[in-house]
């Protein structure tokens, strides 16, 4: 159930320059599914949506991994253990558990990577074959959580725009290759819109492709209709709400211009 919570920060890490991962203690948030998010009060007028990068149900802890892009995330990243955050959550529809009998690939870019780690940690070990994680970033320093994906049993492929680590270029090449090798494979992706567009294009028509989207939000709970993206509503073109219809959508629900 969605709740308004005051949750203490218990640990803070800096997984990459300009990023912070805040662990908070909360039984309620630890009920979240991978792909769900929290909506956090900062100094701004609106809350800030941040996905769960870790969900530790047994210890009642979750983590929020965020990149500093503006005032709100700057404020959040500066918070230290001991501070209490005003959080609404867990919000949205998360990922569904992957089909354990089919190959599984997660494709993440930038701060789209963290929720995929939560997914891999939840379901990776239940699969018949180890999942693949294709992680993209501009520079090697911005590849988030690669070690954690390995530790969760993933085969990790990295793509950097500048070639400083792994494949030089976007995730397109590694993904195309993986799709070729796994015609029945399922893909979960989260990251910048151009990346998601690429994933949608490459997987066109395939079953089991889940994309997690971002959009500017007002209420976070489906009331204001701010957070929409173009998609199919009862079969016709219309608008879907990222906060409640998503943020995770099946690729075939979406319309990319």
């Amino acid at each position: 159930m969605i709740q308004l919570l005051q949750v203490p920060i218990i640990r803070r890490e800096e997984p990459a320059p300009g990023h912070a991962e805040l662990w908070v203690q909360s039984e309620e948030l630890a009920e979240a599914k991978p792909g769900q998010f929290a909506d956090v009060v900062t100094q701004g007028m609106l809350r800030r949506p941040i996905s769960f990068s870790r969900i530790d149900r047994s210890n009642h802890q979750v983590a929020l991994l965020l990149q500093v892009v503006g005032e709100g995330t700057r404020w959040l990243a500066a918070q230290r253990p001991g501070t209490t955050l005003d959080v609404m959550g867990p919000l949205g529809k998360g990922f569904s558990a992957p089909d354990p009998h089919r190959a599984w690939c997660v494709v993440g870019g930038g701060v789209g990577i963290p929720p995929l780690l939560a997914a891999v940690e939840a379901w990776g070990s239940q699969l018949s074959s180890p999942p693949t994680a294709i992680l993209g970033a501009r520079d090697q320093s911005l590849i988030l959580l690669a070690e954690e994906f390995s530790a969760s049993g993933c085969v990790v492929a990295v793509a950097t725009d500048n070639g400083t680590r792994g494949h030089r270029g976007t995730i397109e090449e590694p993904l195309r290759e993986w799709l070729g090798l796994h015609p029945e494979g399922q893909v979960y992706a989260c990251g910048p819109t151009p990346m998601l567009k690429t994933v949608a294009r490459l997987t066109n028509g395939r079953q089991g492709v889940s994309l997690a989207l971002e959009q500017r939000m007002g209420c976070g709970i489906g009331a204001c209709l701010a957070c929409v993206i173009p998609g199919y509503v009862d079969g016709a073109a219309g608008y879907l709400r990222v906060c409640t219809d998503g943020p995770v959508f099946r690729a075939e629900e979406l319309i990319f211009e």
Binding site: I2, V41, G44, L46, R216, G218, C219, C224, V228
Partner: protein, 314 residues
């Protein structure tokens, strides 16, 4: 302290704090977080006769002390509203105010008629800020004649209490208020949003998909107080004030310039329980400013405190 507000045609709010249209959805969305029955009322998001698709995203953008939105009045139409949303709302025990929209006078009439067939609706709120497609897209709310015609059509279509919501984007909102009072409106609500724009410097274009948007939040409070202050001296019907309210202290300001009740919008996004907190805090806040009752506060900052407003008992 008794916070009940008696309004025309038997409309009674259990307290003067109503959820503003467009910020509280169509009713059920906030059920997990808000004790809806505790609110003075809920004004639902604008309902049109047929579904409206709304504007392309992004639809919200933060501004200094404010929020711009260009939702574009997306809604699934009056039938879907009556089927999906109203049944929940009418069980909550709050006053259900249905905000209605249209592109023509006839569209307003149609929604008003349809809603009036349903039980459990407490009042209609006519959002006259919609573009009038038969008059070159000029907002009904910017022209006293068009505002009159819409109000008259709704008035003739329903026996429900009718409030008309004023646009602040005119030099003299009092003139519009007088027109709708003349056309039979029972109440005024004010203000709707100010028209604004934000720039997305990365994309080198207006930030909102709908280009311009409506400005709300604390930034607009002075404009809202001015409109209520002026209108309160120009009409006899009660006013529901809004615009930038975030605290019980803000509510007292709106009461003092002549509002009988208020609506609370933007702050709900950040603090969904703020309306309940305000209701909780209001009696002490009133007392702290020397008001022993809600009524004493109403109009107390007007040049001449208004004489007892006409209202029936429920």
């Amino acid at each position: 302290m008794n916070l009940a507000v008696k309004l025309p045609r038997g409309l009674v709010l259990k307290n003067p704090v109503v959820a503003a249209s467009g910020t509280f959805g169509f009713g059920p969305e906030y059920r997990d977080l808000v004790n809806i029955g505790r609110l003075g009322g809920v004004s639902v998001k604008g309902v049109s006769p047929d579904p409206w698709p709304g504007n392309p995203p992004p639809r919200v953008w933060e501004t200094p002390g404010g929020l711009l939105n260009s939702i574009g009045l997306q809604n699934h139409g009056v039938e879907a509203f009556c089927t999906h949303d109203l049944p929940y709302l009418r069980e909550t025990g709050t006053a259900v105010i249905v905000n209605i929209i249209g592109h023509t006078v006839d569209e307003y009439r149609r929604v008003a008629e349809r809603i009036s067939e349903e039980p459990g609706v407490s009042a209609l709120e006519v959002n006259i800020s919609c573009p009038n497609i038969k008059h070159g897209g000029i907002s009904f709310g910017h022209d006293p004649d068009q505002a009159y015609l819409v109000t008259e059509a709704v008035r003739n279509a329903t026996d429900l209490p009718v409030m008309v919501k004023l646009s602040p984007n005119v030099p003299n909102p009092g003139m519009i208020a007088q027109a709708v009072e003349g056309a039979g409106a029972d109440m005024i609500s004010a203000i709707n949003t100010l028209v604004g724009l934000a720039v997305d410097k990365h994309r080198r274009r207006p930030a909102l998909g709908g280009i311009t948007g409506g400005l709300s939040g604390p930034a607009v409070k002075p404009v809202a107080l001015r409109v209520v202050y002026e209108v309160a001296q120009q009409v006899k019907i009660p006013i529901i004030g809004m615009g930038g309210i975030t605290t019980a202290s803000d509510v007292v300001e709106f009461l003092m310039v002549g509002a009988q009740a208020v609506m609370v919008g933007t702050v709900t996004f950040q603090y969904p329980q703020r309306m309940e907190e305000i209701i909780e805090a209001l009696p002490d806040e009133l007392l702290s400013w020397g008001f022993a009752t809600l009524d004493e506060a109403v109009g107390s900052a007007l040049p001449h405190k208004k004489e007892g407003l006409p209202h029936e008992s429920p």
